[in-house]
């Protein structure tokens, strides 16, 4: 099991290969449809927030506020990443992103940006809401909450050994393409 710790250096990311299982510790920033569209259209990150050497997590967490005002993450599984394909490559380049976590994989433009810039796509286990929520230790901050609402806001999450698998690396490798091609060939033989 490979351990990754924030901030994620280019060297540590370039060392990753498709099929590597990793555990991530440190900070993750959630971002889904609204955030991607906003940043792609030229929007700026709020003051004090930087994605440089950071990881974006495609996730709309269920978060509640304790009586003492602390945020608590109740569920935090990945959402389908394909919807961000039109925006992701540009955001990786412009903000210096080193990793994107989600589910279902992404397309060629994201793969190209991963290669150019030194970034990876990390697949979390879809549906494993409880296990993943347990690995989130604290909510450090939340941004753009008013503007986008809770699931779409940028949540700054402190994580400890958050599990994921590298399914697209910075060398042009994509597990999704590999499995699709291999399973197509296997199916062809059996039709």
């Amino acid at each position: 099991m490979i351990q990754l710790t924030f901030p994620f250096s280019e060297a540590s990311i370039r060392a990753l290969k498709v099929g590597d299982a990793v555990e991530i510790s440190g900070v993750l920033f959630t971002g889904r449809d609204a955030v991607h569209k906003y940043l792609f259209k030229g929007g700026e990150l709020p003051p004090g927030v930087s994605f440089q050497d950071g990881i974006i997590y495609h996730c709309g967490p269920v978060v509640i506020r304790d009586e003492d005002g602390r945020w608590r993450v109740m569920a935090a599984g990945p959402t389908t990443s394909a919807r961000e394909e039109p925006y992701q490559g540009e955001i990786i380049r412009r903000f210096g992103v080193r990793g994107v976590i989600g589910k279902g994989g992404m397309g060629d433009r994201t793969l190209a940006a991963c290669r150019e810039h030194g970034c990876v796509y990390l697949h979390a286990i879809g549906g494993a809401a409880q296990v993943l929520a347990e690995r989130i230790k604290a909510v450090r901050n939340v941004h753009l909450l008013e503007q986008f609402g809770s699931p779409e806001a940028i949540w700054e999450l402190e994580v400890d050994r958050f599990p994921a698998v590298v399914t697209m690396d910075s060398h042009g490798g994509s597990l999704h393409q590999e499995v699709l091609a291999a399973s197509a060939a296997a199916l062809q033989e059996r039709l």
Binding site: G126, A128, Q130, V165, V179, L191
Partner: protein
């Protein structure tokens, strides 16, 4: 109706937090089958941990608590209108308690009023039978896996699928291939051969009410189920589409009549977070027993 409401809230809680035994057994068996040290194995391990954690904490297994589908078997003269009213209230309360996510959106305005109740939500299927017993089954069907469901009209040239059982086999396997890991596999297929478009899909979902370890009473369909399951698990798609030996946990196929002009094969894909439970009501509308 208070007793009924309490029974239905408990049905919802348990369905959302606890995978039925028949499904968990197959997940455990598939975990033992995967090669050690692979990412397929570690994905299944996390799934297994998640199942245990959700049960222990009585929290939703997956944050998408799905489309809410009630299947009710009831005697002649049973008041379906009163039942549906009570069930809608149970859904509202279960949502407030956090057993269900606020998961139902007005298709025209995109508004989510946070109740999970609205046109078509929840959905009810009532069936009368000549017995006094009332039983209620509940399925929570996730969105990601619903998106990879498919309906085929045979013949289909692309797959050289004719209007026969082998044609059915081909299109069902094609659906598995198209889905890859996107439906949060390993999944279970509910399939219907025949019907019109709407009835076909509906019947494919009711196949998911069968226990995974049952055998199809129709030997022809039984053979088809086994064949598709074996072949699908040879495709190497694996849990989450990571590659591996477990692509499907089960296949359930039903057949209903069709018109001479049409031949549909409808496939519903259920994710590993297979949430269905059922209760038999006692005369006072308490829970007399569990069905899965």
């Amino acid at each position: 109706m208070e007793a009924l409401q309490a029974s239905l809230i408990e049905l919802i809680r348990r369905t959302s937090a606890e995978i039925p035994d028949d499904v968990q057994r197959v997940i455990l068996a598939s975990l033992a089958q995967e090669k050690q040290g692979t990412i397929a194995e570690s994905a299944l391990k996390i799934i297994e941990q998640n199942i245990e954690l959700a049960r222990r904490k009585s929290q939703p297994i997956c944050q998408d608590t799905g489309t809410i589908l009630f299947y009710v078997d009831c005697p002649v003269g049973f008041d379906q209108i009163a039942f549906a009213d009570t069930a809608r209230e149970a859904v509202r309360q279960a949502t407030r308690k956090g057993y269900l996510r606020q998961n139902s959106v007005d298709s025209l305005t995109d508004k989510n009023d946070g109740t999970n109740v609205g046109p078509g939500a929840p959905t009810f299927h009532f069936h009368q039978h000549r017995a006094d017993e009332v039983s209620v089954r509940l399925m929570l069907k996730g969105g990601g896996c619903e998106n990879v469901g498919a309906q085929y009209a045979l013949p289909l040239e692309r797959l050289q699928a004719d209007r026969d059982l082998d044609g059915c086999r081909k299109v069902i396997l094609d659906a598995v291939h198209q889905a890859q890991g996107k439906g949060c596999g390993p999944g279970v297929l509910g399939v219907c051969i025949g019907g019109d478009r709407a009835t076909g899909y509906e019947h494919s979902k009711t196949q998911l009410l069968r226990k995974l370890d049952d055998r199809n009473p129709n030997p022809v369909l039984d053979e088809l189920e086994r064949k598709v399951l074996t072949t699908a698990n040879e495709l190497g798609i694996g849990p989450m589409g990571f590659g591996g030996r477990t692509t499907l946990l089960g296949v359930k196929v039903g057949a209903i009549n069709r018109l001479p002009a049409s031949y549909y094969v409808s496939v519903s894909y259920m994710c590993w977070a297979f949430r269905r439970h059922g209760i038999v009501l006692d005369p006072a509308h308490g829970i007399a027993g569990w069905l899965y």
